[in-house]
Every structure is written in structure tokens, then in C-alpha cells.
């Protein structure tokens, strides 16, 4: 396998991986918003 093809694989999977992990963070935040709506937890000071 040529080094450029390896680069292409790393690029495709890398970008997909970044989007996937950050999408999971998004889902986590959405769940947190549901589980701990404003006013339910103690409000942040700053």
C-alpha cells in the first residue's frame, strides 16, 4: 500500500472519528440538559 493511500485512509477515518466523538459529546450534553434542567441543579455562580 502506498504512503499516499495510507494518508487517505488516515484522513477519512480521522475526520470521521473526530465528528463521531464530538457528536457523542453533543448527545451527552443533550442528555445532561434533560437530566439536569436549569433550576433543578444549583445555579453556577460565575
Amino acid at each position: 500500500m502506498s504512503v499516499f493511500v495510507k494518508g487517505l485512509i488516515a484522513t477519512g477515518l480521522g475526520l470521521a472519528g473526530v465528528f463521531l466523538v464530538l457528536a457523542l459529546f453533543f448527545v451527552a450534553i443533550k442528555l445532561l440538559q434533560k437530566v439536569t434542567p436549569e433550576g433543578k441543579g444549583e445555579a453556577q455562580d460565575g
Binding site: 499516499f4 487517505l8 477515518l13 464530538l22 457528536a23 445532561l32
Partner: protein, 400 residues
């Protein structure tokens, strides 16, 4: 005998008139420019000034007995800057400590209010991978004899420069044992970080119309629940640590710092992380990076390539974020100001401030700082994940 004594005594002066001595003078000029940018232009002075001064120290004439500058010394008798390099850069300690401090400074509230901004932190990593590919094509032309392993490892570190995330760049370069290229890679990463106000605005203006830059976005000033702010760093650490284990040291340090900030019972530690820890490590990190800028390692063709590709990565990361925002606007009812996409790089909080400043230039009453900050902290997370991904993937591909 007297003449020999005099020659030895003033060996530093005579060194300046040799071939390597002239290169030293060039390095003094480069170091002077960095210090000038720090003091006169106020570009990240906390980083550029120590880097510039470290470069001066590392290029002082060699001590006769050890044939190396006293601050660097030899393997048997290392100087203080070599000791700092081995203690903090070669083993990735300084980048991790910096991330604890950065984590303690980050307020994720705007992101928890509007989590859709997190995708800009992913889109703005586009430049990393585009530069990675371009580097794979160009490195063999500039570094003759570079094998596939060196090409992939060096391309990874060059690509990461685009994230404007110095610690992650150092982390990737260290992991791939690119000691010989540490100077240009780290100098490019930290210089471009400090040049965010210079590099980003023209790229953004080239890709957006004035009407697009004037788009206003709603933001409601609300407080996040404390429970959410405490749980968020723990969840992020678990998700990133399980899916991309190579990102664990950086994301773990960042989120540890953030948990100290948000837990509400460690205010003293939080302030120490934000101030004393950040300041101490910044001083040591900057001068140690500067010490890698020895003339023989820095004044080379591949340095120019790394600096150029680093700039390319930075520009493409900015462009990636802006274009992603414009793409989203094709489908969204509530339009996003496309400048927000550019804040998806990791230079926190400078990029968000630059975006707000640009927004005010086109509309004095446009306030997009909160959205830009959300994208900016997402970029911090995105660049760490991208660094972890690229290490994991390249390590796996090198085994094929």
C-alpha cells in the same frame, strides 16, 4: 602560549566570524524578531518572548571544553535548558500541565447552552487532515531519503499545527519521536497561535460577504446547572478516553483542570491552576522550546517547508470552519454567522475574541462572542481528539 590563552579566552568572538558563527547571527536576528513581536506587537508575549530569549541562549557560542553552548551542555553534563527539555518536553509533561491550567480557565457554560456549536470544533479540524495529505506529497521532495515512516510521522505533526494548539502539536511530535524537527514544529505552532488576529481575518473576509458577517444570532443569558457542569468533564474524559485512548493524557488533563474549576470546593486549587501553574509552565515551556532553535537544526530547507505547511494548515482549518457554517446555513432556518465556524480552531480564547471584533466592525451591535466561545472550546476538544486519532491511525498504518 600567551596568544593561545588569548585565542581561547575570546573563542566566542572568533566563533562569530566562522561559518557556524554567521548562522548564529541569523538566529539572533530571528530571536530578535520574536521578541520584537512579543513586546511591540503584543502577539502572545508570554510565549514569543521566552521562545525568542531561549533561541538566543541556545545559539550562544560553544564552550571550548564541551563544544556546545553552556545552557545546553552535553549528554554527560547537560545544561539547564537541556535538563528542562528532558524533564518537560521529551516526556510530554509540560503540554499536559498546560492543559490542566487551560481546563481550569475554560467555562463550558455557553457550549452546554448551545451544544450544536460543538460541530464547528470538528469541522475546523479539516485543515489538519488536508495538510497531512499535502505534506505526504511534499516531504519526500524536501527531505531526500525520507522513508514512509518518517513521511507519515512528520506529516502528522505538521498537520496538527493547523489546530493552533501548541500542547497537542508537541504531544504528537513527541509521540512520533521527531526530536530533530521539534524546533520548527513547535515554533510554527506557537507563532501561528499568536498570529490568530493576523491570519484569520483575511481568510474569513475572503470566504464571506458583509451580509453574512452581519448575521445576528440569539443568545439567552442563562446559567447552567452545576450538576451538568460537573458531569460534563467526567463524561468527556470517559468518552474520549474509551474511544480514542491516545487522547487520554491531554483530554484527561484538560477535563481534570475543568473539574477543579467547576466542583465548587477547590477554589484555591482552581486559582492556582489558572495562575501560578499556567504562568510557571508557560515560562519553562517557552524558553525550552526556544532552546531547540539551534542554528544547525533550524536553518534548513525542511524548516521552511514546515513553517509554510503549518500556515497552510492554519488557513485551511479556518476555511474549513467557515465553509461548514455556510453549508449548514443552506439547511438551517436560523442562520449561523459563518465567522463562528472559524472559531472552531483551538486558540482559546483569542479566536473567539477575533470573531467578536470582526462582527462589531461590520455591525457595532452584533454580539456573537458566546457562540464563538462555544465553537472555540469545542475546537479545543476537537484538536485533542484529532491529535489522538491521527496518532492512533498512523501508528496502525505504519504496521501494515
Amino acid at each position: 602560549m600567551f596568544q593561545t590563552l588569548l585565542t581561547d579566552l575570546f573563542s566566542g568572538v572568533s566563533f562569530l566570524f566562522t561559518g557556524p558563527g554567521l548562522k548564529t547571527l541569523v538566529m539572533f536576528i530571528i530571536a530578535g524578531i520574536l521578541i520584537w513581536l512579543a513586546i511591540k506587537k503584543d502577539y502572545e508575549p508570554a510565549l514569543l518572548l521566552p521562545i525568542g530569549f531561549g533561541a538566543i541562549l541556545a545559539n550562544l557560542p560553544p564552550v571550548l571544553e564541551m563544544m556546545a553552548p553552556a545552557v545546553l551542555g552535553t549528554a554527560e553534563a547537560p545544561g539547564f535548558l537541556k535538563v528542562l527539555f528532558d524533564a518537560g518536553i521529551a516526556n510530554e509533561l509540560f503540554p499536559v500541565l498546560i492543559f490542566i491550567a487551560v481546563g481550569a480557565m475554560i467555562d463550558f457554560t455557553p457550549l452546554l447552552k448551545d451544544p450544536s456549536m460543538i460541530f464547528f470544533g470538528a469541522a475546523a479540524q479539516f485543515g489538519i487532515f488536508a495538510t497531512f495529505l499535502v505534506s505526504i506529497l511534499l516531504i519526500p521532495l524536501v527531505v531526500p531519503g525520507a522513508d514512509d515512516s518518517l513521511v507519515l510521522r512528520l506529516a502528522s505533526a505538521i498537520g496538527i499545527i493547523g489546530a493552533a494548539d501548541g500542547p497537542t502539536t508537541l504531544y504528537v511530535a513527541n509521540h512520533f519521536q521527531l526530536v530533530e524537527y521539534m524546533a520548527p514544529i513547535s515554533v510554527a505552532a506557537y507563532s501561528y497561535m499568536s498570529l490568530v488576529p493576523v491570519i484569520q481575518p483575511p481568510v474569513i473576509r475572503a470566504l464571506t460577504t458583509k451580509a453574512e458577517r452581519q448575521i445576528r444570532m440569539d443568545y439567552h443569558e442563562e446559567k447552567s446547572s452545576k450538576t451538568a457542569l460537573i458531569l460534563f468533564p467526567v463524561i468527556v474524559t470517559l468518552v474520549a478516553g474509551i474511544l480514542v485512548p491516545m487522547s487520554a493524557p491531554l483530554v484527561g488533563a484538560l477535563m481534570f483542570g475543568n473539574l477543579i474549576r467547576e466542583c465548587g470546593v477547590l477554589e484555591r486549587l482552581s486559582k492556582t491552576a489558572q495562575n501560578e501553574l499556567a504562568n510557571l509552565v508557560t515560562i519553562l515551556l517557552g524558553i525550552t522550546i526556544g532552546s531547540t532553535m539551534e542554528a544547525q537544526n533550524f536553518l534548513r530547507l525542511d524548516t521552511a517547508l514546515i513553517m509554510l505547511l503549518g500556515l497552510f494548515a492554519f488557513v485551511f482549518d479556518t476555511a474549513g470552519g467557515v465553509l461548514f457554517a455556510k453549508l449548514l446555513n443552506l439547511f438551517r432556518k436560523n442562520k449561523v454567522n459563518p465567522m463562528i465556524g472559524a472559531a472552531g480552531i483551538s486558540a482559546f480564547p483569542m479566536s473567539a475574541r477575533v470573531i467578536q471584533k470582526m462582527a462589531k466592525e461590520d455591525d457595532p451591535y452584533n454580539f456573537v462572542l458566546m457562540q464563538a466561545t462555544s465553537a472555540n472550546v469545542s475546537g479545543q476538544l476537537g484538536s485533542i481528539v484529532a491529535g489522538g486519532m491521527i496518532i492512533t491511525l498512523v501508528t496502525m498504518l505504519l504496521k501494515l
